[in-house]
Symmetry: C2
Subunit: 147 residues, 2 copies
Amino acid sequence: MYSVHETTASILQALKEAGYKFTGKRRAVVDLFVENRDRYFSAKEVYDHVSQIYPSVSFDTIYRTLGILVEQNVIEPMEFADDRARYRLQCARGHHHHLVCLRCGASIPIEECPIDRIRQQVPNFHIEDHRLEIYGYCDRCAGGADN
Amino acid sequence: MYSVHETTASILQALKEAGYKFTGKRRAVVDLFVENRDRYFSAKEVYDHVSQIYPSVSFDTIYRTLGILVEQNVIEPMEFADDRARYRLQCARGHHHHLVCLRCGASIPIEECPIDRIRQQVPNFHIEDHRLEIYGYCDRCAGGADN
DNA sequence: ACCCAAATCGGAATCGTTCTGATTTGAGAG
DNA sequence: CTCTCAAATCAGAACGATTCCGATTTGGGT
């Protein structure tokens, strides 16, 4: 069910099986995510990318496509602090969190998740969901060599 | 500097010292937070409260006041998943996170914070900030008895 | 080649938030 | 107590991200 897609083709295949049609615009959106595996993109950034190929594309199409991709577990959304939703190709592994570079947008998965520990500590609270986001600068962006 | 305010009076005093004027509308906003210490309120909810007392209050005033209170460390903002900013009286204790009830908006502080552990695991990533938010339902809202 | 639901378009609508220009008001100085 | 002026406020327009709508186009099965 939650197969992780490695190529644009396998993703488009999955969409087809889910009853969605194949279109050039959808391919353009999927391509962007596949070719930038660890990057988050805002809807605007996706729009800019697609409109280079299809100048007449509308935001409606972008948002609709993003919605489908989220629904199909191809990409995952995240709310950045700047209140624009961003999306990124779904990671291979199960539940985990990320270090997000504030400069280049790279996301680096980490193992640590505190939710089990917390769940034990507060048996009376019915936890439904949680978000852990860690912001900073990756080694490359932190200022050249070491910093 | 980061004194924690226990009363409306001490907050208004702090605002005065920061060069802000005292107005009834500001008092109404501060009152709401002080009288509901562990609750998050959206700008709309604050507006609704203030407009009961001052029917002509505008959103501009609400947002301006919220901005000042955040700047003065009287309240702290949080972005809920429903993409409306919410605010709550600044907590007394140092850094910590909360369980947030999706129904009533109550926020329950917890001790657990995974950031030190994570910092050790990724020495090459320069962590600047992080957010951990846990959503669910408090005992009271979880559906009466148990659910 | 034909058909129809799905996809797309462009533009309007919505929602939370911010800005603008004109008017009012808190509070210090006289 | 009045004068004064920057700060505060107001009403409404503007804004940016996202969604909706009616009309048109198109992928892909028959």
